[in-house]
Symmetry: C2
Subunit: 196 residues, 2 copies
């Protein structure tokens, strides 16, 4: 996860951040010429803020039967456990981003094996690409955004302290697939479209 | 494809559009507090422009053995053939976006069957989710951004007039998969990472 203060709190991203400067950035809704929907425009400088959904990339990374989880050192859901995951950055491929996040959050070197799931949270304009991966070695330690990192066997997973519904979905989907190597990536469980 | 003038020309999107107004929008590189990389900031109003890769959603949509292609009525690659595809919009799920694009570009009603491929073009900060789909009926006609739309058998595809490499990749991957229903989504063909 990048260190952006509102990371994973996408609801905060639908409006530009408040600033103490001369204006407040893009804040007037307008339909630009040649476009077909309203965008936020800055009346001070004319800048048009095209917003599109953001991508989260992450991994269910295993060492044998144990799965890497990270205890969040940042809001939201500080102190809760999550998969290593975060915003895809500019000029970055999704698998590359997932490897970077595992390193940043848990100093974990991972090898991606397949695309586990594509989850979407339309309410937050967020699409998550979650991969299956293997840890290249067992040595992990907390990165700047983690209070702790640990490898959990299935029976040890702290379900009541999981940070986000999509983390539960990914853990469950990974478990259901077992050793299956060729499969259709999972999507939001039915009836749980908008819980994150 | 949304009607944004620079649609599919993502190289134009790495900088904010020029405007005739008092300023020029976010244009000063700065590392915001709590962040770990430079973002563009507007010195006039303080707005920080967080940019992330954008997602393209589209479909290889079939009616029997024929595949829907659209002849572009907009730049770039005006007059060339493409799959119905475009930017995922805010609050939109990827499959929903792919259905919307098929309707906007070809008045095609489609039913998505599976995720064909995840292509990434890091140079353009673009990730494409391309689905396999069935046309619900045969009636298609050009939308505002298409000069023409047509259903092509494999042997009829105008390869020399295909708009983008990822369209060729998707057509080829769809062909290779044939009737296979359970498969790992395809990714960039090796050695062709950065051609779009």
């Amino acid at each position: 996860m990048c260190a952006r203060p509102d990371a994973f709190n996408m609801s905060a991203m639908s409006l530009p951040p408040k600033t103490p400067s001369v204006g407040n950035g893009p804040r007037v809704e307008t339909i630009p010429e040649g476009d077909d929907r309203a965008r936020l425009m800055c009346p001070d400088c004319g800048f048009i803020h095209y917003e599109n959904p953001k991508m989260i990339v992450g991994a269910v990374a295993r060492w044998d039967d144990r799965i890497l989880l990270c205890r969040r050192a940042i809001a939201p859901r500080l102190g809760y456990w999550t998969l290593p995951a975060g915003y895809l950055e500019l000029n970055e491929a999704p698998e590359e981003g997932a490897r970077r996040e595992a390193w940043e959050e848990a100093y974990a070197k991972i090898e991606i094996t397949s695309l586990l799931a594509v989850y979407d949270i339309p309410r937050l304009s967020q699409v998550q690409l979650i991969y299956r991966a293997r840890l290249i070695d067992e040595s992990v330690k907390p990165g700047a955004e983690s209070q702790a990192v640990a490898l959990f066997e299935w029976g040890e997973i702290p379900w009541s302290e999981i940070a986000f519904p999509t983390v539960r979905w990914a853990l469950r989907h990974d478990r259901e697939l077992g050793d299956t190597e060729i499969f259709t990536p999972r999507t939001n469980p039915q009836g749980e479209t908008d819980l994150t």
